[in-house]
């Protein structure tokens, strides 16, 4: 992908599970893990190699 390409929409790897309950998510992943596999893999990467989680600020004025 280059900067010159016109991109009308930026699509994430992550699926939107925000509307599910924990029980629904658990049932969903038990039934078909592949539905969420990319999201789970990305989350695992995120946890194993997090970018610096903390950002500091010195508000000295």
């Amino acid at each position: 992908m280059t900067d010159q390409e016109h991109i009308a929409e930026w699509r994430s790897e992550m699926v939107d599970v925000s509307g599910l309950t924990l029980t629904e998510l658990t049932q969903l992943t038990k039934g078909d893990e592949s539905v969420l596999s990319r999201s789970l893999r990305r989350l695992a990467d995120d946890l194993s190699d997090p970018d610096e989680p903390i950002a500091g600020f010195n508000s000295a004025l």
Binding site: D3, D16, L47, P53, N58
Partner: protein, 473 residues
């Protein structure tokens, strides 16, 4: 199942630090989903009073999965305080969490539970900060109310006037030391909300491809990863916008100084990221939008005296950063210098130091003091009588009546640097105070990008003025 997505115009508005409410909604949904996935990964099937939007839930679950903690979910949520402020019918309401045991997971040491008097101080500061934000920074106030849900009071840092932090695992939460005043609280909250926005963006979209690379950030004294540098630029984009408005509203020299200082730092940082770092297409689009937002501000007129002080402050930080973190090949430099050859191209190496370091500079304190006095940096009196700005004690009034030559020399060099009198910096250099004098000489000589080379040669016994002349060529 729907994938998270943003239109290009929404994405660039986000990069410009102006996300619309529905973009913030999309980011918030992403974070709710993240918390849900974290609980799923922990095989948690029940959680007390589950609130997927609770930032401390994300912090707890991520810490469990990283094996940083072993304790289970709290059996019950403690009663917590809320801070609420309303101005012009716009409301902000946040949890002031001084009791939840998970509050220690945000990266700073939490304060003990607040007294009522301490909580009152927070409330007064927020009320006044909110009035300021709604009155003069209304779009930013709306964004802040959309993002911020929790403040965790933390212990102060002896080396900083104020300290705050945001965890990538806790969208909408800010860990913050006791605010000194409403303006400080307002700008710190805007700053930290930007971190939450960028954390939520980076969860949905990869922005860079070099997580290990480290480099210069104008906001920290330690080398920072690409993500940290981008975080700094993005957070200070909001800070710059705040001071731009404040400068226009009141003409406060300190506000103008902050605006001038940060517009340059944000713009040069975004330019450097775009030019030197392997960003993804999304990262280039995001960072490009950030740069497009700040770039027009560079052309806005400001008092030349304040513009100069802002540049000195930025140069000072850059020079100090290089002296702290970069080491050159001294042998190659010394050989060329002693032979009288031109300065060789030297690649300095980055010293590995993962300790977090905030920015400290006696020169910055000096500039702030100057601006607080709102006096022009007209050093003619000081240069003719270098003790003119010293306190009676510094002039030797309490001792044997003699002057302290070291302080007088520093004052001459320092005052000249702040006045843009580079010739006097050079002529008055004594080398007795390497911290202030050498950095002044490097800045005045325009050799900041080779600061560590100058320092290495001086440390080897070379004359500093001659070294700077040699590097300048």
């Amino acid at each position: 199942m729907r994938r998270h997505a943003l239109t290009d115009s929404d994405f660039t508005a986000l990069g410009a630090g102006r996300p619309s409410p529905h973009v913030i909604d999309e980011l918030r949904r992403g974070q709710r989903g993240r918390n849900l996935l974290l609980l799923r990964a922990l095989a948690v099937e029940a959680y007390p009073e589950i609130d997927l939007a609770d930032p401390l839930l994300g912090a707890w679950a991520a810490a469990r999965l990283r094996n940083r903690i072993t304790w289970p979910a709290p059996a019950e949520r403690p009663a917590v305080r809320f801070l609420t402020a309303e101005h012009d019918k716009i409301i902000i309401s946040v949890r002031l969490d001084d009791r939840d045991e998970r509050r220690g997971l945000l990266g700073l040491t939490p304060s003990p539970p607040l007294t009522d008097a301490e909580a009152d101080h927070w409330q007064r500061c927020l009320s006044d900060a909110w009035r300021l934000l709604v009155t003069r920074h209304r779009p930013a106030a709306h964004r802040l109310a959309d993002v911020l849900t929790c403040i965790v009071p933390v212990e102060s840092d002896a080396g900083a006037a104020g300290i705050s932090a945001t965890s990538a695992d806790a969208f909408g939460a800010v860990a913050m030391s006791r605010p000194a005043d409403p303006t400080g609280l307002a700008v710190a909250l805007l700053h930290e909300a930007q971190h939450s926005l960028l954390n939520a963006t980076a969860y949905l979209f990869d922005l860079h491809e070099e997580p290990r690379a480290r480099g210069y950030s104008p906001w920290r004294d330690d080398p920072r990863p690409t993500s940290g540098i981008l975080h700094g630029a993005y957070a200070y984009l909001a800070v710059t916008r705040f001071w731009r408005t404040e400068s226009r509203a009141g003409g406060d020299p300190l506000a103008t100084f902050e605006f001038c200082r940060w517009r340059e730092a944000v713009a040069t940082t975004a330019e450097r990221l775009l030019a030197t770092v392997r960003l993804t297409a999304a990262g280039r689009r995001f960072t490009g939008a950030l740069l497009d937002e700040v770039r027009p501000w560079l052309a806005e007129p400001a008092d030349p005296r304040i513009t100069r002080l802002a540049r000195v402050a930025n140069d000072d930080h850059y020079v100090r950063w290089r002296l702290r973190n970069m080491r050159p090949d001294v042998d190659a430099l010394l050989t060329a210098y002693r032979r009288g050859d031109p300065p060789p191209p030297v690649t300095s190496r980055l010293v590995t130091d993962d300790r977090r370091a905030l920015s400290h500079s006696p020169r910055l304190r000096e500039i702030h003091a100057l601006l607080r006095r709102d006096a022009p940096v007209d050093n003619s009196a000081e240069l003719s009588d270098p003790s003119a700005t010293l306190t009676p004690a510094q002039r030797g009034g309490g001792g044997g009546g003699g002057r302290d030559p070291r302080k007088i020399d520093n004052r001459t060099v320092e005052t000249a640097l702040l006045a843009g009198d580079n010739g006097t910096v050079r002529h008055a250099y004594t080398g007795k105070d390497l911290d202030l004098e050498l950095t002044a000489l490097i800045i005045a000589g325009g050799v900041g990008a080779r600061a560590e080379e100058v320092a290495a040669l001086v440390a080897a016994g070379s004359d500093a003025v001659a070294v700077v002349d040699w590097i300048v060529g």
